[in-house]
Amino acid sequence: MVNKLKYLTMVSFKRKVITKWFVIANVLLALVLVGLFNIDSIINYFGGDFTSNQQIYVIDNTGKSYDIFVANMQEITKATSSVGDYKYDISNYDGTLKEAKDKIAKDKKIWLLVFDNDATNIIKATVVSYGYIDTINYQLLASSINSTKSVIALAETSISEEDLAKIMTAPTITREYVDVTKKTTDENMEMIMSTVFPMLILPFFMLTILLVQMIGAEVNDEKTTRSMEIIISNVSPKTHFFAKVIAGNLFVLVQALLLLVYAGIGFVIKMLTNPGFDSNGVTVVIFDSFKQIMKTNLADKLLYIIPLTLILMLITFIAYSLVAGILASMTTNIEDFQQLQTPIMIVSVIGYYLSMMAALFDGSILIKALSFVPFISAILSPSLLVLGYIGVKDVLISILLMMITVHLLIKYGLRIYKVGILNYSSSGLWKKMFTALKD
């Protein structure tokens, strides 16, 4: 005797996976992911360059600014290495201003800095570039120019070289926390993870949408073709419901694993094409963050953060698929289902945006409370845990609440599902569903 639940699950799963569209979508996903991981190499291939240092020509008309400026730039880039890899090749330019500008017109990446004497402000500087300079680079330049001016100003006073050296040396900054549980490494990690974590949970968000839409489309397909009547005359609505939920989640797991494989392939290709891994491209946000994470004690924390996050996400996937099945059973066509699923998607989007901005909300009771709300918790709760705003106990509460939600969805949702799947009329829909809930 065939196990009908197993059979229905496998049929539903195969219908999602063994299609040309699944293959096409995954080929595209693989290309996109591998491409994203190697975007700097791709851009380089078409003329972009993330690996070379920024070239700065200096025309020092003051005769005293160049060396000080170079020293300041080295100090500043060293101090800011934790937030970015900014490297400069600074050289004295022997030609005229016009020649330098002509050179910039040809090689658009070069910047020119002209130092001149100034009667009132000691020195003045002109920054010449072909186009715009990004904010961080500009601020680094401006800081170095300011420091250069300060050094020259101090040097022109009667201050000794020894004192001048003391003034120029960066002071030691010791970080202390009243909260004994806080550590400098965690502070760095918070900064890093507020950037990285939303990127890592984006696939969860995408897979949720995919899961809801797939289950909705399948249930609606069986309803609109009336094959539902034949299926339900042979298997119970409960079996049918669980088969859809299991198959949907199985599909999402397979898709998630495939995304990991594609990311792995992208990573390997990057390693092979760029062994030093010392690039300065778009994807370095993740790679550099990874390097930074390894410097912190996050590796230990990941041992419980990853399993807790996965458990919470898995239970949330189940809850989403239950909701999708229930809503699909209530609607009579895919268009109605898509309208009905919008509120779920909005909840998911809210969770995603809150998690992206979580770093801004330290201490907010509302955000902490929202991290317990089922469906939102899957994204927000791990984000807050990573940032250290909530503890393991809070995540466990979120998991428990999510499990209660799943239980209630099964208990009451199944009643709606039983009535909904054989209902082909939208008139008096909500009344029918409330009646079903009471039965």
Binding site: Y7, T225, S227, T435
Partner: protein
């Protein structure tokens, strides 16, 4: 034996089926007739166990219908219940396995039935690529895949040409001969007359006429007299008991209120010229249906 015992079904305050009862024995073809919205589909759903009756019972061989015995039932719904993206074989495998059949058994049966219905070339074609008539054939095949003990056919001839109707008729009769219980619903009364020995006509969920087809026709007092020849219609209309006279093609149909008026009509017509046909026949089921349902509509 299928026993539908006094079933009633309410949808909210609407009574969709009202104390309906009938029995179908092995080898019998039972006709359940009614206009759209009369409660046929609700009745079928209750028989299939898809809906719970508000009161009354449905039993098959003395047992209530549940998922333990639905594997022995075949169901053809009024609307196409096929997954259009699947191939014919995939669809048959899907429904067959849900009926508890084995894969090899299904494939062998599909081959047999596709050959019987003269469409073996469609085995691996997608259902959406088939014509409406061929889709109906596939739907019928999926309903009889498991050689059901009880077969429910809701409008089985929908979308079929006369040639294919004949295929269906032969198969249905063959199944009945093998002992299957068959419940049949159709708007086409000539089909019902061909198959059903017993029938019920329902209106707003309530039985308005029920019994053996032969008895129903006998009980029906009106008769039709078919006449060919040169007759004076106005003279015939004046005969007591004549309800109407219609000229259809090369013959006349004289409807009389009761059989006892046949002699009076015959005596007058026999005096008219070129009479080549005088035949007294039972009214068609269609006439009975229209009259009975019409009465009910009026109420």
């Amino acid at each position: 034996m299928l026993k539908v015992n006094n079933i009633t079904k309410y949808y909210g305050t609407l009574k969709a089926v009202d104390e309906l009862s009938f029995e179908v024995l092995p080898g019998e073809i039972f006709g359940l007739l009614g206009v759209n919205g009369s409660g046929k589909t609700t009745t079928f759903r209750m028989i299939m166990g898809l809906l719970e009756p508000s009161s009354g019972t449905v039993t098959l061989d003395g047992k209530p219908i549940n998922y333990d015995i639905t594997d022995t039932i075949g169901f053809l719904t009024e609307e196409r219940s096929l997954l259009l993206k699947l191939t014919v074989l995939e669809q048959c495998l899907f429904y067959g396995i849900l009926k508890g059949m084995k894969k090899d058994e299904i494939i062998a049966r599909v081959d047999y039935l596709l050959n019987k219905f003269q469409i073996p070339e469609y085995k691996n074609k997608k259902i959406k690529e088939l014509s409406k008539g061929n889709q109906q054939k596939i739907q019928f095949i999926t309903a009889i895949l498991n050689n059901p003990k009880l077969l429910i056919l809701d409008e089985p001839f929908s979308g079929l040409d006369p040639f294919n109707v004949q295929f269906f008729e032969d198969e249905i009769k063959e199944m009945a001969a093998k002992g299957s219980m068959i419940i049949f619903s159709s708007h086409r009364m000539e089909h019902v007359e061909l198959f059903c020995k017993k029938l019920s006509i329902i209106m707003r969920g309530k039985t308005v006429l029920s019994g053996e087809l032969k008895e129903i026709k006998e009980r029906y007092r009106k008769k039709n007299i078919f006449v060919k020849g040169d007759i004076d219609i106005n003279k015939i209309k004046l005969i007591k008991g004549v309800v109407s006279v219609e000229a259809i093609n090369d013959q006349f149909i004289i409807k009389i209120a009761e059989a006892k008026y046949v002699t009076d009509v015959f005596n007058i017509i026999s005096k008219m010229k070129n009479i080549t046909k005088f035949s007294v026949e039972e009214p068609s089921l269609n006439e009975i249906f229209i009259e009975k349902v019409g009465e009910s509509y009026g109420q």
